[in-house]
Subunit: 175 residues, 2 copies
DNA sequence: GGATTATTTTAGTGATCACTACAAAAATAA
DNA sequence: TTATTTTTGTAGTGATCACTAAAATAATCC
């Protein structure tokens, strides 16, 4: 999972993935069916891990403003490079991949995340949920990309604070 | 150039690039030296084209607020997918590439753009130029990524408007 | 027009890609 | 303990990758 996250789907070959798991290609195929199957499992593990910032922010409770703000702060803390891994696997793991299946898997994961966030925002802002979730999704995408380009926690935290303020203002205007 | 932009550096091979230019590989190598050399030229042409949103926004004059706002609006208009091409070549063209040289070329282009924007912002906000340009860069990164994921002009324009408002507020606070 | 130079193409190169047939090893059942 | 099933590894497969040596073609010079 870390290899896919660090370098993207296409840049990591099956031989290297097998070596990281301590198995040879046939065993990898026996276990996962294909490279994309392994990627799918990596995405599922990512979703259930501490990297799921929306899930974590939601678990601590609070209103929409609190949860979204917490999520931005979590992104600022978790996205900067650590051991060569930066950003978000779902948002950028299959960026520019030549493999339709891999791109489809991340597209589906992104769509599911967007729906979950939109539905949560709609609990307080039904009329503006689409507009607000778009803002959140695009802002997080920018943070993931920036982290992968080398941005540090300080600059991501400054952006998160601005995004948080903006979200609160935009949400309050729809009341 | 459009192939690199549409699919990313690694997803387009030399044979396909040659076919698009109407030449065979040796001629391509004679002309550009390497695949990365061709990519370098594509980046240079992109920079001098209408896709240079900072250059275009700057050419119309005005203060920092006006230029940055105009740039966000240009991004919202130019980034959505058209003929399979979306987002920004400099920001996302070599994302996840296994080729160090290609990634280095886009990193250098991004750094140069950032410096240019920072210096421009510093003409009115010297104390906050770094903070403000970080916001701009991350926001544009999010817009490019969103466009490549299929976002349309309406949602990018809505984000651009919010980013514009945010930039103006944050800039005004540092006065 | 012939000789020379420049450009382009044909036909590859060695490496890597995702994946697999078959053999070997390990685990399980009788 | 032997037979059967499952798991893993060896040794590939055909395709694609970026790139190139040598041949062919086109352009230029005298």
């Amino acid at each position: 999972m870390r290899l896919f996250h660090a370098r993207g789907y296409d840049a990591v070959g099956v031989a290297e993935l097998g070596a990281a798991l301590g198995i040879k290609p046939p065993s990898l195929y026996a276990a996962f069916g294909s490279k994309a199957g392994l990627f799918k499992q990596a995405l599922e593990r990512y979703f259930t891990s501490d990297a799921n910032i929306f899930g974590r922010a939601l678990a601590e409770g609070g209103g929409v403003d609190a949860v979204i703000g917490r999520m931005f702060r979590l992104a600022a803390r978790l996205y900067p490079a650590r051991d060569g891994v930066a950003g978000c696997l779902v948002l950028d793991g299959a960026r520019n991949s030549a493999d339709d299946e891999a791109r489809g898997l991340t597209a589906a994961a992104r769509a599911a995340s967007r729906v979950a966030m939109r539905d949560f925002i709609a609990t307080e802002h039904p009329a503006r949920a689409d507009d607000l979730v778009d803002f959140v999704v695009i802002a997080l995408g920018g943070m993931s990309a920036a982290a992968r380009d080398g941005a540090g926690e300080a600059s991501l935290a400054a952006f998160a604070a601005k995004a948080d303020r903006t979200f609160r203002r935009e949400a309050a205007e729809g009341r």
